[in-house]
Amino acid sequence: MLKNALIAAGVTTALLSAGPALAAEKKTIAVSIPAADHGWTAGVVYHANAAAKEINKAFPGIEVIVKTSPSASAQVSAIEDLSATRKLDALVILPHTSEELTTPVKAIKDKGSFITVVDRGLNDPKIQDLYVAGDNIAVGYNTAKFLVEKMGGKGNLVVLRGIPTVIDDERIKGFQDGIAGTQLKILDIQYANWNSDEAFKLMQDYLAKYPQIDAVWANDDDMLLGVLEAIKQSGRKEIKFALGGNGMKEIIEKVKAGDAVTPVETPYPPSMIKTAIYLTAAHFAGHAPVRGSLKLDAPLITKENADEYYFPDSPF
């Protein structure tokens, strides 16, 4: 956290000295995100609020307001209300769904706001001025490559997938591409809905069904927690790796501690909302060109770089 604050302070001074002339008129950046209903969105809310606090303090000329919405229709109402009551110079949005939010966001764009879209793209990419997202395919692909390398290209795997969505499909596709052509074999793949309890049950069933499992991949860390508990209870020792994805702090702690079964992690960090808010602020305060797309990598998190992805105060 201290490290982050230092980075933030550094960026701040740089940006401040770059654009003092723009400070005269106060710019409003509205941030619209889903309400915290599970680990990942809780992380988004945490990082959005942190960014708002830091930027409001650092740049007197910018005001960041954060609104959370529990559903797509609530999010549509929220951004309509925001734009009706004040002039929005920019909107940073992590849409609940692409379909429902596209038209309302376009309406705000037409009023002259700078639009930053995060994570889930809108149906019409021409609406966005800036797009920030993670790489779901890389989450699966990099995990697969790690397993291929460490297991010498052969072994029996079981996979737990989340809720049927594009995010889940991309991760699974990346993983399947990563092991293609090797002798790593996926014995079974089932949905556990990104839920610890369901993952616990599913892993118990996998263990009952298959006498030899060399590695497990749960495509999300909530599920990995359930998987680890089921393995521990079974007392089975042949499982060399149990990996997750997303960057939950409990799992990063394992990586930092050099855990043998979970030595690496792939990030799909909720902190990407912070990246997006800072870049949007740079557009106003720094007079820095930021239009374009930014795809955050999903490099393997290892013991060496784990600190970069570790947020002890975040709920996720």
Binding site: A36, H38, A42, P164, Q204, A208, E229, P315
Partner: protein, 330 residues
């Protein structure tokens, strides 16, 4: 699991199951047989122990729901309530651990029970004093409990203190003479519940109120009191389930217990309790909970269902189980 079917003593009148009530046990036996034919691993001691242990939460909560439903009520809030109680219990234990050490665990269990009783009383009084349909009243508290757990966890996870983790673990993972503790707990809860429902005046009143509210009122039964008490029993059962649940994953999240209410209601109805009230079957409910968990287990152990179609097949099996249950009554 077949031994569960034989477990309830049939000697005395009030406890007897009778052939008319054997439906859920026949469905369970059929499922076990099919499971064995599909994959012999299904009957391995390990798998059976896992699955029955897992069904304990739903079974314990569903036993409470048997009272609520038999008395003509309905409680949709049980899943959220379980998550809420889990959260309160963990936060209390973490708070108490530095000063009292592992004594925080029994204290936390007491807190869980008190919280459960209070939640049940809340539901009961809203329904009876407030005269609000149970469906709507508990839909409201379902949202309230869910929001409270989300608030307590900041939308993330609240995990139990590391110092308590190992000491508490046996409550879910431990066993007595080879029988996992959650199974023993649910059997104990079922025994007490069967006694209360079949052998006490309260149990008979509960069923009478569910069968015909007006007749019950004219015969001098305080309908409101009977119904409220049923919700309180439900709250206590949810608390007991939560106490067994905490050590499993050692954490509460906003997604804990999501949709448990539907599993609970399904278990109760498969077990032979009438959804409109007036008939309660405690042992049938337990069998219903085990059936549901076996179906999910079978989906993973069998190879011929695509991962995309699992839910559909589960739905079909539940309907078939209900039909077996119905036909056995004729």
């Amino acid at each position: 699991m077949a031994d569960l079917a034989a477990a309830p003593p049939r000697a005395s009148h009030g406890w007897s199951i009778g052939w008319g009530d054997a439906g859920p046990f026949l469905a369970l036996a059929a499922l076990v047989l099919i499971g064995f034919l599909i994959n012999p691993d299904f009957l391995s001691a390990n798998n059976i122990a896992n699955v029955v242990t897992r069904s304990a939460f739903i079974a314990i909560i569903a036993i409470g729901a048997t009272f609520v439903i038999a008395s003509g009520g309905l409680d949709l809030s049980v899943g959220s309530m379980a998550a809420f109680i889990t959260g309160v219990t963990i936060l209390f234990m973490n708070w108490a651990a530095p000063s009292v050490g592992t004594a925080a665990i029994p204290l936390g269990m007491a807190v869980a029970l008190v919280t459960g009783l209070a939640c049940g009383l809340l539901n009961g009084t809203i329904v009876t004093l407030g005269r609000i349909e149970p469906f709507i009243a508990t839909l409201g508290t379902m949202g309230i409990f869910r929001a409270l757990i989300t608030y307590m966890t900041d939308g993330g996870t609240v995990a139990i203190d590391r110092s308590l983790r190992e000491a508490y673990r046996p409550v879910y993972f431990g066993d007595v003479l080879g029988v996992p503790i959650p199974i023993l707990v649910s059997l104990a809860v079922a025994l007490i519940a069967a006694y209360v429902l079949y052998r006490t005046r309260y149990g008979r009143r509960c069923v009478a109120v569910g069968a015909n509210e007006d007749v019950a009122r004219y015969s001098g039964i305080s309908v409101a009191r009977v119904r409220t008490l049923a919700f309180v029993i439900q709250g206590a059962c949810v608390a007991i389930a939560a106490i067994c649940y905490v050590p499993r994953l050692g954490a509460a999240t906003p997604t804990t217990g999501v949709l448990w209410e539907l599993q609970v209601i399904t278990a109760v109805v498969i077990g032979g309790t009438a959804l409109r009230g007036g008939r309660g079957r405690v042992w049938g409910t337990v069998a219903g909970a085990v059936i549901l968990e076996f179906i999910a287990n079978l989906m993973v152990l069998s190879d011929f269902v695509s991962e995309y179609l699992v839910a559909a097949v589960q739905g079909v099996i539940i309907i078939i189980a209900m039909l077996i249950q119905r036909m056995s009554k004729r």
